[in-house]
């Protein structure tokens, strides 16, 4: 295959190859067994505190993560209403949904009957006084006050069974302060300029939010069920968290595919241009493949699953790891005098490559400790990948191509170009320094540089978010994103605490501070409360006497009310309601949404607050009202997410500084010269300053990922600076070969930089914000780092022939 020194025989060459093949196989086995994910979990903290755990539970399995919002537009109001009913029926029949709601009362028939059956356990009015003669007289008067109005039609059929109005009290407590508009008996959007009128539906998928396959199947089911309605000229729009996660996954999948294909093609083209040899191309691909496989396997081992985003980042790793192959293939080349070869490379260049590897590992390594799992995965992937690629270069490439790549391709012109640039660039030192100064001042004055929020990490496109907001505004305008969370070691403790909190919240409604709230205790009161209510129900004789007295002279004769006596007598004997007993009943979806039960028996009750129309929740007032209640917290989801992001950002800033410090420390240890260290650091600092300045000048909102990008600029850029340092040292030490060898080193540097810029540039065009943000910073930053390293490359005293 190639021209081989006699000192190196096959058995010697075979063992690193065999070991490499075996390790690669093991890594592949590990990858095959590992699931790939694309959900939002990568954006949530790995070690959450108690509040964050609630947040995560909500995002993973809470009702919002499983709820689809749907809008039907086109046709007239009646056609939309018919379609809404037909679609709701089809969805209910499919069995995929826990709850399908379109505002049609028919969907609640079972629930209404359930409430009637358990009204004495559920009604907040039930107490001993309520069933005294006075209490009954007052309650009957209230019930009668609605008769003769349209609202009375609803209570008239129940009057004989429920003259004391328990159903009214229950219904009253459930009136939402704001709910969707009703048109033709189903939910409809509020008329708004520039928006089509829509019938609205809401459906809760049975499967948990993390089960994206099930979510995808449910969404496909909705579209299928709508198909016959679409034929009538109606249009269906679907939104909600399940749509976002399903779409994100498919977007990430297709993105990973094209990034891999385009990235691979770009590398191949560059390598072919540089070496004009297919064999060299094949050999150069080995460290890349090794790196990617090692990286994925390491993530699989460390995290149990691999996020699609991490794979997308793989294309950047391709660009980085191919550098090692380029350095080797060019620098190990034998010159006309027969000097060079792999042994020479190991002595001359490997230490610098190794140092470059270590600095890169230092940079990426900072990410490994990120509390943000998405970044930690990228860190592990890159560190393992780079080490794998470097080791493959060090041990496998010498075995396969001991004399580097022979073809010269375009390397000579590349080298000449680099040399010419190197000669001219130092003239730019002063302007660059001034520019750096300007950037520093600009950055100093801009206090609000880091403005991006958690949403900037989300792969959901803006148009989808806008549709979601429009549907949500019409549908669940009562959703303020603020909830009271009550915790307890067991379900009953939680329910009792929730009742205490609900009592305080009722007072806030009376004071006009909040519009309303939901609570699981409306459907399942604590056993203690149910027992108290049951105990206050009088026996039939007592009740009959009180009823006689209460109805005397009134319009409702006591004789009619025998069904009431029977129902109360029955309620006195009824078994109490518990969440466990209600599994599978009409009320189960509501309980599941508002009460989270954990495997260890503990539970959290969620009490979502509704604002008054046109107002925000007064958090301070709520906070104050809840003062002193044990295990009760107010959770503003938007604020919590904001705080979470700020925490990530703070952490990431520290880690980036640590990573950068690590890079500098490593270089200091290696160079052992303050002057050389300074020369190496100068272009790096300027590259960071200028990149940051450019981003600020462009008005980009900077976030964690841009910070990560800057760290990578330092990690990658340090390699270039070190090579210039090496060139200078070599220029001093090895007069005779400097032309040829330094030309090739320059060519390899330029080529390595081109691959890096190309691969990160590719990421910049990704539609996944995490990847594009990194690409946008690193691609120009790396180029800048090379140019600046050349600009500030110290001249050797005996002078490289520049």
């Amino acid at each position: 295959m190639m021209n081989e020194p006699a000192t190196r025989r096959w058995p010697q060459r075979a063992w690193p190859l065999a070991l490499w093949a075996a390790l690669l196989l093991l890594a592949l086995l590990q990858i095959v067994r590992t699931p790939f994910t694309a959900d939002l979990s990568a954006f949530l903290p790995a070690s959450p505190d108690a509040r964050q755990r609630l947040l995560i539970e909500q995002i993973h399995s809470g009702l919002p993560s499983r709820t689809l919002l749907m809008g039907i537009s086109g046709g007239d109001g009646a056609a939309r209403a018919d379609a809404s009913r037909a679609l709701a029926r089809a969805l209910r029949d499919s069995g995929r949904f826990e709850q399908v709601n379109n505002g049609d009362a028919a969907g609640w028939a079972g629930f209404g009957q359930w409430l009637v059956d358990h009204r004495y356990a559920l009604s907040p009015a039930v107490n001993a006084e309520h069933f005294s003669a006075d209490g009954l007289r007052q309650a009957i008067a209230e019930s009668l006050s609605l008769l003769g109005t349209p609202a009375g039609n609803a209570i008239k059929p129940l009057l004989d069974r429920d003259p004391s109005g328990e159903m009214q009290r229950i219904a009253e407590s459930m009136i939402p302060a704001q709910s969707p508009r009703s048109v033709d008996g189903v939910w409809a959007s509020r008329p708004k300029e520039g928006q089509p009128e829509r019938a609205l539906l809401m459906a809760t998928i049975r499967a948990i939010g993390a089960d994206i396959d099930a979510q995808a199947a449910a969404i496909a089911g909705v579209r299928q069920a709508f198909a016959p309605l679409a034929a009538r000229g109606l249009t269906l729009q679907i939104s909600g968290a399940p749509v976002f996660s399903v779409d994100s996954r498919s977007r990430i999948e297709s993105e990973v595919r094209w990034l891999a294909i385009v990235g691979g093609l770009m590398m191949a083209t560059l390598l072919l241009l540089a070496f004009a040899s297919v064999a060299a191309l094949a050999v150069a691909a080995l460290p890349v493949v090794t790196g990617v496989v090692t990286g994925i396997a390491a993530v699989a081992l460390g995290f149990g699953s691999v996020h699609g985003m991490t794979l997308g980042f793989g294309s950047a790793l391709i660009g980085e790891s191919v550098d090692y192959a380029i350095y080797y293939l060019i620098q190990a080349r034998r010159d006309e005098q027969g000097r060079g070869g792999w042994r020479h490379w190991l002595l001359e260049s490997w230490p610098t490559v190794r140092l470059g590897l270590l600095t890169s590992v230092c940079g990426f390594g900072a990410l490994v400790f990120s509390g943000f799992p998405g970044l930690a995965q990228l860190g592990v992937f890159s560190v393992a990948g780079l080490i794998g690629a470097a080791l493959a270069t060090r041990f496998v490439l010498p075995a396969l191509m001991p004399d580097g790549a022979r073809g010269r391709g375009l390397r000579a012109p590349l080298g000449r170009l680099a040399r010419a640039a190197l000669r001219g660039l130092p003239r730019l030192r002063l302007p660059v320094l001034l520019l750096g100064l300007v950037a520093a001042v600009l950055l100093w004055q801009r206090g609000d540089l880091w403005r991006a929020d958690l949403a900037s990490l989300s792969p959901v496109p803006r148009a989808a978010i806008a549709l979601d907001e429009a549907l949500r505004a019409d549908l669940t305008s009562s959703d303020s994103g603020t909830l009271v969370v009550v915790q307890g070691a067991d379900v009953q403790t939680t329910l009792q605490r929730a009742e205490a909190a609900a009592e305080r919240l009722e007072a806030l409604i009376e004071q006009g501070r909040i519009g309303g709230f939901d609570s699981v205790t409306r459907f399942v009161p604590s056993l203690a409360t149910q027992e108290r209510r049951r105990a206050s129900l009088p026996d039939t004789v007592t009740l009959k006497a009180a009823l006689q007295q209460a109805t005397a002279g009134g319009p409702l004769p006591a004789e009619r009310l025998a069904p009431f006596l029977a129902d109360v007598a029955q309620a006195r004997q009824a078994a109490p309601l518990t969440p466990a007993d209600l599994q599978g009943s009409a009320v189960a979806p509501l309980i599941d949404a508002l009460l989270l039960r954990r495997a260890d028996g503990s539970a959290s009750a969620l009490l979502p607050l509704q604002p008054l129309p046109g107002k925000d929740i007064d958090s301070a007032a709520v906070q104050q009202a809840l003062q002193g209640l044990p295990e009760v917290q107010l959770l503003g989801i938007g604020q919590e997410l904001g705080a979470l992001y700020q925490r990530y950002l703070g952490q990431a800033q520290q880690q980036a500084l640590l990573g950068a410090a690590g890079v500098v420390l490593l270089m200091a240890l290696w160079l052992r010269s303050g002057r050389r260290l300074l020369a190496v650091c100068q272009p790096l600092v300027l590259a960071v300053l200028l990149s940051l300045g450019a981003l600020a000048a462009l008005g980009l909102q900077l976030g964690i990922l841009h910070l990560v990008g800057l760290l990578l600029v330092v990690a990658v850029g340090s390699n270039y600076a070190l090579f210039f340092d090496m060139l200078r040292e070599a220029g001093l030490g090895d007069e005779g070969r400097r032309d040829d060898s330094s030309d090739d080193t320059l060519a390899s540097l330029l080529l390595a930089n081109l691959t890096t810029v190309a691969s990160f540039g590719l990421l910049a065009f990704s539609s996944i914000p995490v990847l594009s943000a990194i690409g946008v910073v690193v691609a120009p930053g790396a180029l800048l780092a090379l140019v600046l390293a050349a600009t500030f490359a110290p001249r050797a005293k005996t002078a490289l022939p520049l």
């Binding site: 006050s145 008769l147 003769g148 349209p150 009136i175 009703s182 048109v183 319009p555």
Partner: protein, 190 residues
Amino acid sequence: MLVMCVALASSDPVRAQTFDLATLMQRMAQRKSGQARFTEERIVSGIDSPLTASGVLSYAAPDRFTRQTLQPTQETMAVQGRTLLLKRSGRTRQMDMDTVPELAALLDALRATLTGDSALLHRHFTVSLSGNDAQWTLRLLPADERLARQVQQIELVGQGADLRSIELRLTGGDRSLMLIEPLSPLAPAS
């Protein structure tokens, strides 16, 4: 003040014109606020004796309306814009009228009459007017099928710019009649 306004209104040249809906609406629109006492009698099938209630009404243009029942039990229903506030036995609940279109239609009928908004009136009802300025009757028949399932008709009777009674007939045969006695600071009703 109110009486003076009414007096001015009654000497208005519009009186000379033929009495039609536009005239009435224009007349009603000039009234910006009002207070009244009401008594209500409801005849409900299955309940032998009529149900009665009484209390106070108040209105302020363009979209505030309050019905405060004092007898037999205290309760308040207040409309402000599209929001309905219900107060019973010390409990307050707020709701959006548009979530219950039948209720919204009834309240709109009242509001449209009081503010002289004939477009709003025609949105939900077929309107017919009879009588003259001194004694008019506005009959509203639900135009919407869903509302017609609940409400048979509404009949509003007035004298000049004063609304004097509202009769509501439900499809089941139940009906209610509210008699309205305008109150004014200058001439408190006895």
